[in-house]
Symmetry: C2
Subunit: 283 residues, 2 copies
């Protein structure tokens, strides 16, 4: 495994791999790797002959007062995991290498990014699109892998690839959950043991929504109310949003029709967690 | 010369050229080619072993009420000129191929694009950055050529390349002028014979500015007033702006110091023309 933070070096290594007709798979991350990230890495290893992972805690996707500073950093452990997974190149640039003092060019998505997390994290997806655009230009992957956990992000990045004509394919892989169904997230490390238990209500509410839809419920309002009831049964929990939207365009629905995304963002104490399910409704 | 509007085909042709170790030069245009464009093409031919020209009248860089509809179209003549120049590939995509119905991703520069033309054409440089970002991703050139006539645009695109890590070099080539010093522009075709004569005042004013600076004048206000006097001596002429700015960051100057850009936009009748000079002031 080559480890480098040098953009020119990384370009060179990848260019050489391409010259040898390698298929380049790419998993961009902010580090603090967990089994969710590693599922992307494993898939990349399976499908590609040269796998690049980036670790870059991207400042432009954090708003003021968000958790940029306390975001978990564990480079040694991350490196170990990636080496064991057999990736070819770990790119971990410094902030100054990625954003020059007078950086002034940004990539912005104007439609899919308006709702859900975008509404509560202004500028977040602009930061994501900008850094991913940069990373795509540096790594020039054939396939890039993202998790469904950040479904809105993945959909926006698919749009980015389409609208700016990046020559690569984005694959969205399923959410990886703990045994008790908590969705894996680097931010789970912020939770106290009590909060960790409360956090299970997120998936419980999604499971209940799924079950209601299976039973024939088609009114989003009724489903959301039931989800709220489940989540708010815990103390110290604050719902940022619960939305039922068209899984293709993220538009809110009056009536449930296939396929729908049920997505939520909830504060467990001071920790903001997100989770979602996609449901293929018949009829 | 291969002529195609098909993005996949164009990618394929260029990929094959790269496989044969060709150096790819790129000149993006909106058509209505003149000797200014052709000077870029000639330079590309000289420096690169595979030259791509695009002709695409980009709607996103025109504001409402601007001249998108009446912009001159002369594809047959353009093709003839490019064939004679010996380019390898002419890419002329249709609008629907470049912008899908629900296009929603844009590239925006937030600093250099605020002043000069950017102030009077809101959204213009967003459209330019977006389409050029797309074209760079499709063509993947080693060198892209732009004219100093659109100096602000060229500087913004250099910033785009730097900030989004495009793997290419931008070259800015000198303004090409008619014998009587009118800067070449596709929009000159809008001018009546009388307007054509009035338009000479643009360069006269720039020449006078240059001469004043050479004589030691360092007060931008005084120079601009003199330029205004020259331009407004013609009837039916309206000054949009005359600015003296730092040629590197486009910031307005209180006192002239090297290197400066003197740039102007003037309406001759209904036709908006721009022109500029860069002056390397000593001391």
């Amino acid at each position: 495994m080559i480890v480098s933070g040098n953009i020119s070096k990384v370009r060179k290594v990848i260019k050489e791999a391409k010259r040898r007709n390698k298929l380049v798979g790419f998993v961009p991350t902010m580090g603090a790797l967990h089994a969710g990230h590693m599922s992307l890495v494993k898939r990349a290893k399976k499908e590609c002959s040269f796998v690049v992972v980036s670790i870059f805690l991207n400042p432009t996707q954090f708003g003021p007062g968000q958790d940029l500073r306390r975001y978990p950093k564990c480079f040694a452990k991350d490196t170990h995991l990636l080496r064991r997974a057999g990736i070819d190149l770990l790119f971990y640039p410094r902030q100054e290498a990625m954003y020059q003092r007078n950086h002034s060019v940004y990539v912005q998505e104007d439609s899919l990014s308006k709702g859900l997390c975008g509404k509560f994290r202004p500028g977040h997806f602009r930061g994501v699109c900008t850094v991913v655009g940069k990373l795509f230009n540096i790594v020039e992957p054939d396939i890039a892998y993202f998790g469904q956990k950040d479904y809105q992000q993945a959909l926006i990045l698919k749009r980015l690839v389409r609208d700016l004509n990046f020559s690569l394919k984005i694959k969205i892989l399923p959410i990886i959950r703990e045994k008790d169904k908590l969705a894996l997230s680097s931010r789970n490390s912020y939770l106290s043991p009590g909060e960790r238990t409360d956090a299970l209500s997120l998936y419980s509410s999604l499971r209940e929504a799924k079950s209601l839809i299976k039973k024939g419920e088609r009114n989003p309002r009724k489903i959301i109310n039931e989800m709220k009831r489940i989540i708010l049964s815990k103390k110290g929990v604050k719902i940022e949003y619960i939305k039922i939207v068209d899984a293709q365009n993220l538009k809110e629905l009056d009536k449930i029709r296939a396929p729908v995304l049920i997505a939520l963002a909830v504060y467990i104490g001071k920790t903001r967690l997100i989770d979602n399910v996609i449901i293929n409704v018949k009829g």
